[in-house]
């Protein structure tokens, strides 16, 4: 057990497996050396070899060694060592840390046999340690750790350090452990066997933090005193790994007055429940519920070219509950569906509720009769809708360049519950193809292939559409070279883009062209914010860029205005 045999023949004869030991046969021309008296020993040996399983050594390496043999007339110790080193090197390079050539032998005058111990995993042990290094009972249920361990690390497989480091990564991504170590050690009971011990130190399950703040101002009589007894500050808490099943509850609240919060309150509560179908079920559906608020600027209420200053910003405050279930098909492809209940408030710069878009008049005053911001007309909307997102993504990295295809379909379906009983369907389809233009060999340090990216995005809306949810054109992920919403806000949009990426040294330079169009549907948005704010409704751009690690630096020319600008962005466009 535990060793394998690598067999290489000069005129391919065959390969024999046995136990964990692989044998490497090397065929040699019949030499004049005496071999008659060794037959007795060989029968025993032969039996052993017959029991061995084939080694992992790929054919190319075996052929390479046969060539080494063919060139030599005689099999000397030096040659054998050389071949042995080559075998060892291949195993080391490919992450088989416990593989080793144990022995040379010969079956008959024609064959040389290398005995290789590859390091079969005989046992996998998961241990929990406390901070002092003592072995303790863990709080986490073992199956949760177990399902993160790749197959190659299960007993019966050959230990590969790549699989081990993958296991560390997977376990780490659970976020439950402060320290993860994998110790392979030789199994004394089984020759060539390896026991893999996974040592885990659990992180603190619970934590809570309260931070309060009082300001001191000159009070009566000139003595310093507190501005208010009510403190401002933040509260954050976390309870992870509930029931040892990696369920978690997290929350945070920040406000300038904890006891009687005002508009500046920002909060977030999350509950995550993984393994909805049971820990042992390979299907992994994750339930997530969050209750939170955020406040963002609406790109619908922005001015077109050269009248940006004339449009005061409108912020969209959203508060609500979102519950969804995510099912991961592969690492990248997934299906998410759920329910959203939210309340939307539109505010102006002074955080006053504003039911209509604003405009600065030539006289300097502000007109408040712009397009309505909400469906209800009051500046506050409540809505419940169903949400689904299905992503099919089989992109992969080829020497660092993304190749493959991705399709995303998103849909929001209104239920007729909420202000003005909104019934709507909002859907988006995104298609992106990364086409490899040249075949390259994969491997670290090899050049990236040139890639052509084709991208299309269609967004459409049927039914009631409040302006804050209209699709906007322009922006770093819509039509580059424009600011968010610079081209317009519409009911239906179509965006098309193409990009050619060419490897230069370790990085990529690219050229792109993009177009966005409202398909004439800007006028179907209430109050036509596209026309009111002097936006065109469609536009193209083109430009050049370079990738510096995760950063994109690009020069994009907006075709409507004919001007170019330099942009720095994080991450990919597509």
């Amino acid at each position: 057990m535990g060793t394998s045999v690598v067999v290489v023949e000069a005129e391919v004869v065959g390969m024999v497996i046995f136990g964990g030991i692989c044998f490497l046969w090397l065929f040699q021309r019949p030499s004049r050396t005496r071999n008659s008296h060794r037959i007795g020993i060989l029968t025993d040996y032969k039996r052993r070899i017959e029991k061995a399983r084939p080694c992992l050594l790929p054919g190319t390496v075996q052929r390479e060694m046969m060539l080494m043999l063919r060139d030599e007339r005689r099999v000397g110790a030096r040659l054998l060592r050389k071949i042995g080193d080559r075998v060892n090197r291949w195993y080391q390079e490919n992450g088989y840390a416990f593989a080793q050539v144990m022995n040379f032998g010969s079956l008959n005058s024609k064959e040389v046999v290398f005995e290789v111990v590859e390091g079969d995993i005989t046992k996998l042990v998961i241990q929990f340690h406390d901070k002092l290094g003592n072995v303790v009972e863990g709080n986490t249920q073992v199956p949760i750790v177990h399902r993160e361990i790749p197959k190659q690390l299960r007993p019966g497989h050959v230990l590969n350090m790549k699989a081990a480091s993958q296991a560390v990564k997977n376990i780490h991504s659970l976020g439950l452990f402060s320290n993860i170590e994998i110790y392979p050690r030789l199994d004394e009971k089984n020759e060539g066997g390896v026991i893999v011990e996974i040592k885990l130190t659990e992180a603190d399950q619970k934590s809570a933090e309260v931070s309060t703040e009082w300001s001191i101002v000159p009070g009566r009589g000139g003595y310093p005193s507190l501005a208010s007894f009510q403190p401002g500050g933040s509260v954050a808490f976390e309870h992870r790994n509930i029931c040892g099943l990696n369920r978690s509850l997290m929350g945070s609240v920040t406000t300038s007055n904890l006891l009687s919060p005002e508009d500046d309150l920002s909060f977030k509560f999350d509950y995550v429940h993984p393994y909805l179908d049971g820990v042992y079920n390979p299907r992994n559906r994750i339930f997530k519920m969050s209750f939170f608020n955020n406040s963002k600027l609406s790109p619908v209420f922005t001015g077109g070219p050269s009248c940006e200053e004339a449009v005061p910003p409108i912020s969209v405050d959203r508060v609500g509950l979102k519950a969804n279930i995510t099912e991961n098909f592969t690492r990248q492809s997934k299906f998410t569906y759920g329910l959203v209940l939210e309340e939307i408030t539109t505010r102006d710069e002074n955080s006053q509720i504003s039911a209509n878009g604003l405009r600065i008049l030539p006289s300097g005053g502000i007109s408040v009769d712009g397009p309505p911001t909400t469906l209800s007309g009051t500046g506050i909307d409540r809505v419940a809708f169903l949400q689904a997102n299905i992503t099919r993504d089989n992109t992969k990295f080829v020497n660092g360049a993304i190749v493959g295809e991705r399709t995303i379909f998103q849909v929001d379906q209104g239920l007729g519950i909420g202000s003005k009983f909104p019934l709507f369907n909002r859907h988006q389809l995104t298609l992106t193809r990364f086409i490899q233009l040249k075949h390259v060999e994969e491997g670290s340090g090899r050049p990236q292939p040139p890639v052509l990216v084709l991208h299309g995005h269609y967004g459409g809306c049927v039914g009631d559409l409040p302006s804050y949810d209209a699709f906007v054109l322009g922006g770093p992920y819509s039509v580059r070279g424009y600011t968010m919403g610079e081209l317009g806000a519409a009911r239906n949009i179509l965006e098309l883009g193409a990009e050619v990426r060419i490897p230069v040294k370790n990085t990529q330079v690219y050229a792109f062209a993009e177009h966005g169009n409202d398909l004439g549907s800007s006028k179907d948005v209430k109050g036509n914010p596209t026309a009111v704010y002097r936006r065109v409704g469609h536009g193209s751009s083109y430009g050049l860029g370079v990738k510096l690690g995760q950063v994109r630096a690009e020069y994009a020319v907006d075709h409507n205005g004919g001007t170019g600008a330099l942009f720095l962005r994080f991450g990919e466009r597509y």
């Binding site: 901070k131 603190d204 310093p224 406000t255 406040s295 963002k296 790109p299 959203v340 509720i353 600011t483």
Partner: protein, 788 residues
């Protein structure tokens, strides 16, 4: 320089008001006498246009005793003229210009006492006074009077030939009548026009002579009316104009628009902005607004007939307002001309076009052009133009010196990658050889969950406390081991220094997907941020803007961090945050390089910090050296140079750090900063007492006092920081800050891993917020219903 700007702006200001003017203008004092004679200076008298000068009425008004002064003056003039040839004396050239101007005034049939004429002369005079050298002051004063005389004389003799030419650039939207206006001026069809189609498709020069003045019109293709691609096309036209203008700068710019097409929602603002952007805001300084199609029936907003003057005024104000917005300066005012090119326009007996208000526009047109050119020439001769900055004043902000100083005092230059480690090493160095307490502890039996549950409460507590005590000791032991290992490593490293660092030959492993911020959108686009694990030293992270765009992730900036040990004793690091968008550019970065001497006693560091503040950048360079004077004492010396908005600030500081025993650290520093006519002094004292178990447990009490003095004003600031661990699972952090203005802040941070109950405060907050929201919403809906 501001004076010049005001001067120029005031200049165009005065020109714009060609209506009868206020008597309070300083100019009138000079010409009071003359004004009595001319009754209605604003309105040009209808004068028949002829090639020869024929104005006679004005001659009477020149009251100077010419006969006596003429000869000497002329000689003086000639001599200065000669001088100008040699010394390029701009004043002499201006004198020449003045004469020419006065001749033209006569020729165009304008009264020399026309307000506009006087104003131009006054401004020229003023400009000369501003630029004249001490010795020339007298001649300047004399020159104007003499020029008038000279002009009259020359004009009547017709000798020398008037050498005056006008280059007029004509801008305007397509179809407003640029070419037609040119034709009207020349009185003949020199440029092709078409009432319905754009007739001019490239830049054309149209030359001719009007009143003996060589006039060159630069006719340009019309700008496109606002549409999807108009901006791009217009920019193209403007760029070609820009190239043209660069070669042959125009004297006067005309911006044409149709009077009848201007409404309150002026849609040409983008065009005006584009013109300012492409040709530069200064183009508006020489610009005359020309309103074509002026003879329209004026109707007010309510259909009532408006007074023609007020109608025009109203329209003018709209255009002027948008020009102000386009250059973001409200001081500029452009003179206005009304023009009518229609063949069926009313004509006066002399056959000239007459506007509805009875004005003959052509002489007025020429006159204004001449005025503009003369003033423009004066400006360029005296090199005023360069000093005029239109738009919002950019560098009015100055840096706050106390702020700079306090930043400077606080900024510590790093001396290496492992600074914190070094400090800890030093602390532990003495008792490295001592045996670990942890090893001397008796063995403890770790209890299983069920057995732990069975313990009594006090036993549980004791058990956990014992574990905690052991943990502290264990961590100490680990730290010491680490320290020992590092020391050994260092020795090894020094031995094989020349060995190259091994290139890690890691396979490309994609990193796990990033988790995004909360949003109500259906998914976070994690695929945009997917990447391969790399082993390079650059750490790049996105900067999340919680107030970003709706339906967008909100990663707007980039945070970059890197640190590298270039050589054994040379270390460099940089951190920065940058965001670059179509309109915005912000950067904030710190770079640091340090060199440690071989004995590691002394470190030299250099730092360059860069920060954007509005449109400007703040640069600050800092250099310093750190010297370990004796065992527990470190002295730090630093200098700084900060540049902001063209101003420089220089500072220096001295800092001393003393370790008393293992647990007390004292830091004293003092600094001084100077710049922009201000000085600031400052200093700080910092004392820090560490807990028994430092550095394993981070307990400490710190006291800081800082003093800053600027302009004899002293700001004192003191602070107290405590970090306590009263319990095995609780940390309390108290911060108190106060200054001598009785302002301050108290910060209490409580952090626990066991007492989860404190989180219930958040439940209370949310509950209160919900109550409040309910009230607000019900109020809102009530209001809305009432409105309905």
């Amino acid at each position: 320089m501001k004076g010049f700007k005001d001067w120029v702006l005031a200049l165009s200001n005065s020109m714009a008001s060609s209506r009868p003017l206020l008597g309070s203008d300083p100019f009138f004092r000079e010409n009071e006498q003359q004004d009595n004679h001319s009754q209605a200076p604003a309105l040009p008298e209808p004068v028949a246009r002829s090639e020869t000068p024929c104005s006679t009425s004005d001659v009477v008004e020149i009251q100077l005793p010419l006969s006596q002064q003429q000869a000497p003056l002329e000689s003086l003039y000639q001599s200065s003229f000669d001088l100008c040839e040699k010394r390029h004396n701009p004043l002499a050239k201006i004198g020449d210009l003045q004469v020419q101007f006065l001749r033209l005034v006569q020729r165009l049939g304008q009264s020399q006492n026309n307000i506009l004429v006087s104003k131009v002369l006054y401004r020229v005079h003023l400009a000369m006074l501003i630029r004249a050298e001490e010795s020339e002051l007298k001649t300047v004063k004399l020159r104007q009077d003499r020029a008038k005389a000279l002009a009259k004389e020359q004009e009547s003799r017709g000798i020398p030939e008037l050498d005056f030419s006008l280059r007029i650039l004509v801008l305007g939207k397509t179809g407003v009548g640029k070419s037609a206006t040119i034709n009207s001026i020349f009185g003949q069809s020199k440029s092709e026009t078409d009432a319905f189609r754009p007739a001019t498709d490239r830049i054309e020069e149209v030359m001719g002579t009007v009143s003996g003045v060589k006039v060159t019109f630069v006719d340009t293709p019309g700008f496109h009316p606002p549409s999807a691609s108009s901006t791009r096309k217009n920019r193209k036209i403007l760029l070609s104009i820009k190239r043209y203008v660069k070669k042959r700068p125009p004297d006067v710019v005309l911006y044409l628009d149709r009077l009848d097409m201007i409404d309150m929602r002026y849609s040409d603002f983008p065009l005006l902005k584009l013109i300012s952007e492409t040709l530069g805001a200064a183009i508006w300084l020489n610009t005359i607004l020309v309103m074509t199609h002026s003879s329209i029936a004026s109707e007010g907003r309510n259909g009532q007939s408006l007074n023609y003057e007020s109608y025009v005024g109203q329209r003018m104000d709209v255009v002027q307002h948008y020009i102000h917005q386009a250059v973001s300066d409200t001081k500029i005012e452009n003179p206005v001309l009304l023009v009518e090119n229609h063949p069926s326009c009313k004509k006066n007996p002399a056959g000239e076009y007459v506007l509805p208000n009875g004005l003959v526009w052509k002489p007025q047109f020429m006159f204004l052009c001449v005025c503009t050119k003369v003033l423009g020439d004066v400006q360029s001769l005296l090199r005023f133009r360069d000093s005029i900055g239109l738009g919002q004043p950019s560098s009015t902000r100055t840096a706050s010196l106390p702020h700079l100083l306090s930043v400077f005092l606080r900024r510590r230059l790093s001396s290496g990658a492992d600074e914190a480690e070094k400090e800890i090493d030093e602390l532990l160095n003495s008792d490295l050889e001592e045996e670990d307490e942890y090893d001397q502890l008796p063995a403890i039996r770790i209890l299983g969950k069920t057995r732990f549950q069975k313990l009594a409460k006090s036993q549980k507590k004791e058990y956990l406390d014992e574990l905690d005590y052991r943990e502290t000791l264990y961590l100490k032991k680990q730290l010491k081991e680490e320290c020992r290992r590092r020391r050994d490593e260092k020795l090894v490293q020094e031995e094989n220094l020349n060995k190259d660092a091994e290139q890690s030959d890691q396979a490309a492993v994609p990193l796990p997907d990033m988790a995004g911020p909360d949003s109500f959108d259906s998914d976070f686009p994690a695929h945009r941020y997917r990447c391969i694990a790399t082993s390079d030293q650059w750490l790049v992270r996105p900067v999340y803007d919680p107030q970003g765009w709706d339906h967008d992730v909100g990663f707007d900036g980039i945070n970059i961090e890197t640190a590298a040990k270039i050589k054994r004793n040379l270390f460099a690091s940089a951190t920065g945050q940058v965001s670059r968008d179509k309109q915005r550019f912000t950067i904030q970065s710190e770079t640091n390089a340090a060199y440690t001497t071989d004995s590691s006693k002394q470190t030299f560091s250099v730092a360059v910090d860069l920060q954007s503040s509005g449109e400007d950048l703040v640069y600050s360079f800092q250099g310093g050296t750190k010297l370990k004077t004796f065992k527990h004492n470190t002295t730090d010396l630093g200098v700084a140079l900060t540049s902001f908005g063209g101003k420089y600030y220089i500072g220096g500081k001295l800092e001393d750090t003393l370790l008393v025993g293992k647990r007390v650290k004292l830091t004293v520093n003092a600094g001084h900063m100077k710049g922009a006519g201000q000085t600031a002094h400052g200093g700080s004292f910092e004392a820090c007492i560490r807990g028994r178990d430092y550095p394993v447990r981070n307990e400490q009490i710190g006291l800081t006092m800082t003093a800053l003095s600027v302009n004899k004003e002293l700001v004192l600031n003191w602070g107290l920081q405590t970090l306590l661990r009263p319990n095995r699972d609780t940390n309390i952090d108290v911060n108190v800050n106060m200054n001598n203005r009785k302002m301050g802040k108290i910060n209490v941070k409580l952090n626990s891993s066991e007492h989860w109950e404190i989180a219930l405060i958040s439940a209370f907050t949310i509950f209160k917020a919900l109550l409040r929201r309910k009230k607000v919403v019900s109020e809102m809906t009530r209001e809305y219903e009432e409105e309905l």
